[in-house]
Amino acid sequence: MIPHLVSPVVLPAVAAALMMLLARENLFAQRVLSLASAAGLIGLALSFATHALPRAEALGNWPAPFGIVLVADGLSVMMLALVAVLAGIVLLHVLSNGVDKLGDSFHPLFQFLLMGLNGAFLTGDAFTLFVFFEVLLIASYGLVVHGGGAERLGAGVRYVVTNLVGSTLFLFGLGVVYATTGTLNLADLSTKVATLPAGDFALIRVAAVMLLMVFAVKAALVPFQVWLPGTYAAAPATVAAMFAVMTKVGAYAALRFGTLVFPEGAPAMGTLYADLLLPAGLVTLIVGSVGMLGASGINRMAAYAAITSTGTVFVALSAFTPEAISAGLYYLVHSTLAVAALFLLADLVARKGGRSGPVAVLFFAVAIAVAAMPPLSGFLGKLLILQARWDQAALIWPVVLATSLIGLLGLARLGSELFWKGANPEPPQTTTLTAPVLLLAVLLGMTVFAAPVYDLTTQIANALHDPAAYLTAVEALK
């Protein structure tokens, strides 16, 4: 029996509700439920992956395009799996460092975050995408200020304000889309936008750019990246590790809209998204890597590494060719895990015995992954991106290579500062090293099994480039 598509949304919601209702004071029960939910999500993602994709489901059996549909295609399932694996590893780290004891409701908020993320990846409806964005954001507001403190609250307020402005813009964009096309179902939009009369081109292009700006805020794409370094550096490092996947929600949404709703083939769109995303991605790379060079601590370093990874992903995605999307997706998975590992190390460094031999070794390995140096998967990802963007090599190659070098210098400087100056010989508890080691193991797996993983991302990219199967799956619900 195939589990319902809605189950990755329902499972964390039920887990969170159970924690709040039955286990408010019982941290042990909350931890068990939280881990069980993460394990369940991994299982659900795997079971989706083993069945035929894409698959669509109408919520409440309302026919499409009037009701809300959930659609799982290769990209959705890949993102579900990424979120579930990252959540499991981050939760293991939470068990070892006890960050959930610093305040109330860590685990319920964490589950609501997972619910929002999963919903955003599964929905086939633009307005539901907005709703799930809000679900994941409101959970993230609570997690950012987890543990309290004036600095955290101040950063939290700025984070909330930025995202509220983004949400307002999202609604304006959706309003224009609905006024122009009369639908918000992504598959239906795809056909409506393709056959729009020439008089409506300007309106739909305005809406497309508004939505792109919202996704750029989420992804921290220049010029909308200003909120990220302060927020991620002020948030608890363990939480920030989970947030490494949140910038990728923006990348996911931009990719979904850029291939399905506003594709290059549509006469109304032309190469609008590609023209905007390529320069934005390149500038993001430069801003992120210069930030890495100047970062004053490991938390800020990891925050700027998140910006750099967004830039790299968008440089790849902006081509909107199957090869480049495939390379971008490979790098997206890699960079999410690498940045998360760097945040987990930031947590270790701040703790007793954090600046000792074992952590230094881990930092070296994670730095290799973040800087995309051989032998880890980032190097392969960047190589694939460079290869796929051969079309504009004169512009893209120098920027990607130079920013890699700048980022590497920043990481080398930070490493020597952390572990050569004032290092302490006392090693940390071995259990606290588990989660970063697991993340590195996944990255190593992505390197060793690069060919099958790349084949998988190529299949996903081909399906995105030619969304006929996606449209048929939704069509079947009419």
Binding site: L137, L153, V161, L164, G175
Partner: protein, 114 residues
């Protein structure tokens, strides 16, 4: 009527943007509220302005107003209300801890020009 509604949306948005750019959290919250009012009216009008017409099936109706934007607005109102509440709590928390309601990123920004 279209002109009036458009002007109101524009005015609310302008006021919202201006207030949101002010460096104090109280002004910013007011600005965000104005912007959410503006976007709610905007969403309403995205289903075309049809005053006095029912949104649900009625044999005697001369025409219909689009029910979908109304549902969207309802969702948007609930979400923006909740978000504003969260923001108010966080802003009050920051004010009580730091004694300043500046939204600037470091303490040198704390002096408000007004």
């Amino acid at each position: 009527m279209e002109g009036l509604v458009a002007a109101v949306i524009g005015l609310l948005t302008a006021a919202g943007v201006w207030l949101t750019l002010r460096p104090r959290s109280f002004d910013v919250i007011l600005g965000l509220s104005f912007m959410s009012y503006a976007v709610n009216v905007f969403l309403f009008s995205s289903g075309r302005l049809a005053p006095g017409l029912p949104p649900i099936i009625d044999p005697a109706a001369a025409g219909y107003s689009d029910p979908l934007p109304q549902a969207l607005v309802l969702t948007a109102i609930v979400i923006s209300f909740g978000m504003t509440a969260v923001l108010v709590i966080m802003a009050v928390g920051t004010f009580l801890r730091t004694g300043s309601d500046s939204t600037g990123s470091d303490s040198t920004d704390d002096q408000d020009p007004s």
